[in-house]
């Protein structure tokens, strides 16, 4: 099994692993054809309702299609025509005829049947959507080589991967590729499935990944008693000390790592010492991934970054990607403090919501929180917080005083939430990140 395969199909040759969706499991050893058509040289829009069919189509089309645009489930219909036009799409591949695009060729994948695969004829461009939240989605171009650049050989054959992510986004796709290249099994998530049901399905998993918000939700579900991973990985949002400590307490024997990756910048690095942030000497160190801080914002240059925005502005500047993630050095460590677009401005003083959330989340009774700006006629905005407690039955008044006291101790007055509400739950985006526009 080559670690740097020419195609995805070559990577799974000889595999005995399973790929499990919510309803079906496919054993990769008898993988024939999942798509009847020969789509050599075509630009394909992959728009499935089920993740398993997306994975099967990717194995089928890599090395065959000229370009695969992997559509996450939440791309709005109104943006579809612009996507089709910018990416010069010729064929839609979907397990659901309802997702066809009017006037465009449609091909439907099925569970694998015996058959000879289409011979590979080219390097396929993989196009992913960025996790931006408003307006027409941005698409970025990757290669299989870049996408698999951070993958190390599997160090055990009994690994079973599971992920809360959707494999049609960068974070989830990383796990799919990791499982396929490592020839180990993977259990896929399903957006329509109950957290408790999914956790039950994850019982065999040894390696489990998700965003900090996914993990907080899992820790709130009594069904988390069913899982016992030996490797726990977080990425996609800031992993604060509170969630790292909670996971360590719940899974004392597991290795816990938080990774930095983005659709544009690719996989940056992983931190495994159990502490939030990352060692300051990561900046400027030699290696495949170079990092620098410009005006408080992390920039990355590596062979794993995307090459360009498809039909959009330039992505790379001298090879560097501006991640728009803001970092701050405290002692010998850098901490993520928020995103350049997410700032709350209180009378000219700037606040990263994530910085305040980190303080709130440190309170032992708190499961998660969302800090946002509320319009104010006096100061432009004030800081407000929505907080989910571990146990909703707790005495809220006492908790509120304790949380605000902790904020006053750690933060200047203008960053302390002016109003704090307890809520039963906080909405997550389809990508598993805290929804900041709710």
């Amino acid at each position: 099994m080559p670690l740097r395969p020419e195609t995805l199909r070559a990577a799974v040759a000889g595999s005995r692993a399973n790929l499990s969706g919510r309803h079906e499991t496919v054993n990769l050893s008898d993988l024939g054809r999942a798509l009847d058509a020969d789509l050599s040289g075509a630009n394909v829009l992959l728009r499935t309702s089920d993740q398993l069919f997306a994975a099967l189509a990717l194995i089928e089309l890599d090395g065959v299609a000229a370009r695969i645009v992997i559509c996450p489930p939440d791309v709005k219909l109104e943006h579809l025509s612009s996507v089709v036009e910018r990416a010069a799409i010729a064929v839609v591949v979907s397990d659901d005829p309802a997702l066809a695009v009017v006037g465009m060729r449609f091909e439907q994948p099925h569970l694998p049947k015996p058959g000879t695969p289409v011979a590979p004829s080219q390097k396929t461009e993989w196009v992913l959507f960025t996790s931006g939240t408003t307006g027409a989605p941005k698409m970025v171009a990757h290669t299989l080589e870049g996408l698999t650049g951070a993958i190390q050989p599997a160090n055990a054959s009994d690994i079973v991967w599971g992920t809360f992510y959707d494999i049609r986004r960068y974070g989830g796709l990383q796990i799919l590729l990791r499982a396929l290249l490592g020839q180990v099994s993977l259990i896929l998530s399903d957006a329509h499935e109950d957290v408790a049901d999914f956790l039950a399905r994850l019982a065999p998993v040894t390696h489990l990944t998700g965003t900090p918000s996914h993990w907080r939700r899992a820790l709130m579900s009594p069904a988390n008693a069913k899982i016992n991973p030996r490797y726990v990985r977080l990425s996609g949002e800031i992993a604060d000390q509170a969630i790292l400590d909670s996971l360590k307490a719940r899974f004392p024997d597991a290795a816990i790592g938080h990774a930095y990756a983005s659709t544009e910048a690719g996989v940056g690095f992983e931190v495994t010492d159990g502490l939030e942030g990352f060692p300051a000497d990561f900046i400027g160190r030699p290696g495949a991934v170079e990092m620098k801080v410009v005006d408080g914002t992390l920039h990355i240059r590596s062979p794993r970054t995307a090459s360009e925005y498809v039909g959009g502005a330039a992505l790379l500047h001298d090879g560097w990607v501006d991640t728009t993630d803001m970092v701050e050095q405290r002692g010998d460590r850098f901490h993520f403090v928020g995103r350049t677009g997410g700032i709350i401005n209180v009378g000219g003083l700037k606040i990263n919501p994530e910085e305040v959330e980190a303080v709130i989340n440190r309170h032992p009774g708190v499961r998660m929180s969302r800090v946002s700006g509320r319009k104010s006629p006096i100061t432009g905005a004030i800081v407000i917080a929505d907080v989910v407690l571990n146990d909703a039955a707790n005495d809220n008044a006492t908790f509120k005083d304790a949380i605000l006291a902790a904020c006053r101790e750690k933060l200047p007055a203008f960053k302390v939430p002016a109003m704090l509400r307890f809520v039963a739950a906080l909405e997550l985006t389809a990508g598993g990140k805290l929804s900041r526009h709710a």
């Binding site: 209180v346 009378g347 104010s376 006629p377 007055a413 002016a418």
Partner: protein
């Protein structure tokens, strides 16, 4: 509870939370000399909006800012009566 009582109570609460000492809250007290800063006023205005259902600063078409405590209370009394 009257609008005046609610407004006065909110001034006291926010002053306590923000560690401010009120110099007095008579009708003649000039707001900017009351011991509260603009962050305190921003918080008071947001909380009164939630309690009384009005934000006269945003609702009012006049560019009018109350100067004294008496003005401030009248500002809210008028807005809730409207």
């Amino acid at each position: 509870m009257s609008v005046e009582t609610i407004v006065r109570a909110e001034f006291e609460t926010v002053a306590r939370e923000q560690d401010r000492i009120l110099t007095g809250l008579s009708d003649e007290t000039v707001l900017l000399e009351s011991g509260l800063d603009s962050l305190c006023f921003a918080i008071i205005v947001a909380r009164l909006e939630d309690q009384l259902g009005v934000d006269p600063f945003t609702a009012s078409e006049d560019v009018y800012f109350p100067v004294t405590m008496g003005d401030f209370i009248k500002f809210y009394s008028d807005a809730t009566a409207a």
